[in-house]
Symmetry: D2
């Protein structure tokens, strides 16, 4: 996965941040904390995960479709992106 090799560290740091947010969410649930705060924590996770999804998809477009080694691989990567995005239009 060429584009994530290059951006590997950056992506791993973002995932770790999301895991930390989920830990905070779990702790708030366990402590029976305030519901609004709990929803805010989850909403932040959701935003962070969406942002990461966007980052990974951008890399896929740039490096696996536009910069594909050959037409056959560009077609395959294009169809992969279409399948991944399918759930966004539901």
């Amino acid at each position: 996965m060429a584009h994530t090799i290059r951006e590997k560290g950056k992506i791993l740091a973002r995932v770790n941040r999301i895991k930390g947010q989920l830990d905070a969410f779990s702790k708030a649930i366990e402590a029976e904390g305030d519901c609004y705060q709990i929803m805010q924590l989850l909403s932040s996770c959701r935003g962070a995960l969406n942002g990461l999804m966007g980052e990974v998809i951008e890399g896929h477009i740039r490096e696996h479709i536009v910069e594909a080694d050959n037409k056959k691989m560009a077609i395959q990567s294009g169809e992969e992106l279409i399948k991944i995005m399918d759930s966004f239009w539901k």
Copy 2:
């Protein structure tokens, strides 16, 4: 816009269906109809518009990125897609 030339009729039919759904929504608002029904109408419009967005983006990936005439145009179309999708990750 090559891919919508080919699928022009199909896309126009989908837009007309969405306009019809919005007309039904306007009428229900004017008639001060049932709120649940009104929310369902709007939710259907939203689903239909998302589906259309998916269709147009699929065409863009296949015909303007994967099948671009040259690398320069593939890069441009790829960047356009990234800009359009930017709002999905918010």
Copy 3:
């Protein structure tokens, strides 16, 4: 639909704006316009429709759940909202 009676004119104006945006989209498709511009038009419609959905749902929460005439109606309006939002979590 109490809350849209109060805000009827405002909501109808927003729907009309979205219809106008869809007309511009149809014209661009018919004229075989630039694909990026076409995607931007559709993306604006989508944003405007999402905003309208948010407005209608806000009214529903405030006037049909929080300000329901009685508990039975609050329960019904709450369940209606849950059903409408179900598609957002897919």
Copy 4:
């Protein structure tokens, strides 16, 4: 947070599953795995997190708005929901 007290175990199990999915994602990034598989992992996380968000919001509607102890608290919980959902309409 009454509704999550009742459903505490269920919600914690869901969060743990999402953390497990994020671990699988991190490992795939570290191993420089196949990009399509990586996007699928992230897409599953996103779906699971959306589902959890829906679950928490449903509990909030049922127990903190509809079943609020008094009108003042119903209003507050309603406004909290509106603020949380604000990001969905962008």
